[in-house]
């Protein structure tokens, strides 16, 4: 009997032609993961392996694929660089993965109107370089720019390098082209002008949608004239003293391109890895951008605010800037690493630092805190903890850390960040019951057959169709935290 995978594969081959669909076990396996790694036990709850992988080259092809999927009730999972760690691009019950990285052409760089129109599968690094070659720059991009795609980052609603000055993934969008779950192709915005006036802002409903509402195929983004640039690094004795400077900085009239930080533990890990020159302290990295007079002025402001900290050399500051996509070098020490993310108000940065360090201590973790300041009001902490996925209990506990971190976010007046598969249960808590219901209605109305990246965001769901029990998972995580507390300290 011909199997599901084979049927889908044949249909896909008909649509895209030979050579752009595969369904052999080797391929299906290597497309069944992203940056995160699960305890193997999770394979019981989910079927992470796609039935088929397709490399579409046009919106029309995707439309045909989606129509087929809708008719046959097959899941569609759009996938960019798969550089997120929250399972956003992983099937939970098989289906069709759309490998979007082949739709990577820049269609137009319009310097007069300061916009770029590109296919969604290009990496941010490639897009940046192409725009830069014409004398312009992209305002903000994810720290994983070497592999993260334009559509991927928009779908995570992320913040990243440049966010302090130019906002997050959703803030520079003029228009998107999206293939909807019914196969229609929608243009969401206005290419040359800002989105305002009457009508729902369709651009924004796809920001942070985690691919659950459609497949983003093209984006028109704002670009900016390229100006002078200067990275600066200041070394503080610890994260709490650094925090004072951050709070001062966000209340000053300086508007750096980017503000990020890493704590003493992070640099300790780098030294452990053999980077003997890694500093001893907590580092505040700031990138200034603009006309030279402005940069000089802002550097003066920063020097005053960071008084008492050690101002690092031009070379080291440039090195820190060059390392902006390499926050997890220390992973090798684990050799596994678990990442968490929590947003807190800038005003409560100190409390959050205390709470995270307390959690690390209680759970006896080998962990470090990195983070960034995406705007004047918010700080995002991105702590990571080193572990060994080969040790079952240790690795199960990892989810406990992430769950507890989300809790810290809420406690300190903030929130967790990306939800993906395992934290989908937080969506309700994050936005409130009515907002959650509204989102659910939106999803149901756009995707009544639930084919578009099912199981994510509005309903953490297992392969058997019943939802990931929101109340049970955090409870399980508490138990894990308890277990970890009894275990010996991580070396």
């Amino acid at each position: 009997m011909i199997g599901k995978s084979e049927i889908i594969f044949n249909e896909m081959s008909n649509i895209v032609g030979d050579g752009r669909a595969r369904n052999d076990m080797f391929e299906r396996r290597v497309y069944s993961h992203d940056l995160g790694s699960f305890p193997k036990l999770f394979d019981m709850m989910f079927n992470f392996k796609p039935d088929c992988i397709v490399k579409p080259e046009s919106s029309d092809e995707i439309s045909k694929i989606v129509k087929f999927a809708s008719k046959e009730r097959v899941a569609i999972i759009p996938r960019g660089g798969a550089s997120w760690g929250m399972s956003g691009a992983i099937p939970i019950e098989g289906g069709i993965i759309l490998d979007m990285t082949h739709m990577s052409n820049v269609l137009e760089i319009d310097g007069d109107n300061l916009i770029v129109t590109t296919e969604g599968g290009i990496t941010w690094k490639d897009l940046y370089e192409k725009v830069e070659a014409k004398g312009y720059m992209i305002g903000s991009y994810p720290s994983s720019a070497p592999s993260a795609t334009v559509a991927g980052w928009i779908n995570t609603g992320g913040i990243g390098t440049g966010s302090y000055k130019y906002g997050g993934a959703g803030d520079n969008i003029r228009a998107l082209e999206v293939v909807l779950p019914n196969g229609n192709i929608v243009n969401t915005g206005s290419k040359y002008t800002l989105q305002s006036g009457s009508g729902y802002d369709l651009n924004q409903i796809f920001v942070g949608a985690e691919g659950t509402l459609g497949v983003i195929t093209k984006a028109t983004l704002r670009i900016f004239p390229k100006d002078e640039f200067r990275p600066l690094s200041y070394l503080f004795p610890d994260l709490k003293t650094l925090s004072k400077a951050v709070q001062g900085l966000t209340r000053s009239d300086a508007t750096p391109l980017n503000i990020s930080f890493a704590d003493n533990n992070h640099f300790g890990f780098l030294r452990e890895l053999g980077h003997g020159d890694a500093p001893d302290g907590s580092m505040l990295n700031i990138a200034l951008e603009g006309p030279e007079e402005l940069i000089d002025y802002e550097e003066g402001v920063l020097d005053r605010i960071t008084k008492g900290a050690k101002k690092e050399s031009v070379e080291l500051s440039m090195h820190e800037w060059d390392e902006r996509s390499y926050e997890l070098r220390a992973k090798r020490l684990g050799p596994s690493a678990i990442l968490g993310e929590a947003f807190v108000p800038t005003t409560r940065m100190d409390e959050a630092i205390d709470h995270i360090y307390t959690l690390i201590k209680k759970m006896k973790l080998k962990a470090a805190i990195t983070g960034m300041v995406p705007d004047r009001n918010s700080v995002v902490f991105m702590p990571y903890y080193l572990t060994d996925e080969r040790k079952l209990i240790k690795s199960m506990v990892s989810l406990g850390f992430m769950g507890k971190l989300a809790g810290i976010g809420f406690k300190d007046g903030g929130r967790p960040s990306g939800l993906g598969l395992f934290f989908a249960y937080n969506l309700k808590k994050l936005h409130g019951g009515v907002a959650y219901g509204t989102m659910h209605d939106l999803k149901s109305s756009l995707d009544p057959c639930d084919i578009m990246n099912p199981g994510k965001l509005t309903e953490g769901q297992t392969r058997f169709g019943f939802p990931l029990p929101g109340a049970v998972l955090p409870l399980g995580m508490s138990v894990m935290k308890l277990v970890k507390g009894i275990l010996p300290k991580d070396k």
Binding site: M25, F26, L35, K40, I53, S83, S325, L328, R332, D388
Partner: protein
Amino acid sequence: MGYDVPNIEDLYACLSCGYCNSVCPTYGQVGWESRTPRGVIYYLKQLSQKNVFDTILRRGVKLDSQSAERLRECVFMCTSCGMCEEVCHVDIEFIEFWEDIKEWVIKTVGKTESQKKMYDRIKEFKNPFGEPAETRGAWLPEDIKLSETPEVIFFGGCTESYRMQKLAQASVKIMDKAGVELNILGEKEWCCGSPLLRLGQGDIVKSEFMAHNIKMVEETGAKTVVTACAGCFNTIKNDYPKVLGKLDIEVLHLSEYTKRLLDSGALKVNNPISQKVTYHDPCHLGRHAKVFEAPRDVINSLGAELVEMRRHGAEACCCGSGAGVKAAYKDMALDIGVGRVEEAVETGAELIISPCPFCVLNLNQAAEKAGLKIKTVDLVQIALGAL
């Protein structure tokens, strides 16, 4: 139980960030996750961790014939260019990593027919072409005086000795002009071993070839080995000491040696060239052996105007022919080469210079395939004309 895959710590250290994907020249052609460093690592990790759960869950991470064939294909499509090492988030030393993996794949899955042939020919004839040893030194021009007490041994290498003799001839003519006391090993020279090391079949290289070549050099009393082949150079300089320990002889690429001769005044530029040229870093010379400046200094000394390609130095793109890929996947090697030649054309250069016979051959064939006029010449050819 899981498969006994080597480099297990690296498999677990991999972050799956995918930075290696976009820089991998083979992935650029193939376009499937299976042909990325990240994809292969993930698969190998799955193989290594097969355990009791797999039986219960019927996950079936077993290497059936279809998967085994795909694994071998994906691993041997790698040109060993080392760009993945350059961008790796967690500092995996990929150049060595892939050699170990290739060796393991051959042990576990077996050799292809052509890999087996290559091995047998090198084992029997000491070169990959199956040519007789007696003619190995036949390229030597008659007017070159060889020294009985040489300071330098010129190591021709298989490709220049049997297929691209003009490069070997130009090399010794340059040294002869500078009055270098020089000799060659002739029929006593064996393949450096690079083709087998890069293809995971290095056993006889490590047990015989390395020691033989070094012994032959030492017997001449020379203290320096010079080669114009980037592959031979990297192998003798960097792979031999891993097995033999620190060498008592100095190993130089001809570009380095030419620079030395120019700096000391032993060589003079008599007919400077006035062309606008670009330089293609061979992977073996650049990323692997970290020789970036010497060939550029020589080009500048020759009077040429050097313009750099977008990707150069440590980030230079592979020509496409490394690690047996040209023999096994000819079209793909050429397509990678086409991309590189197009990048060279963008610079406005009239000529591509590269000090590696494999790069020269592949880039010229790629230009022909794409209908591009630009030629690639070996550094020794252009240097000889100017000196």
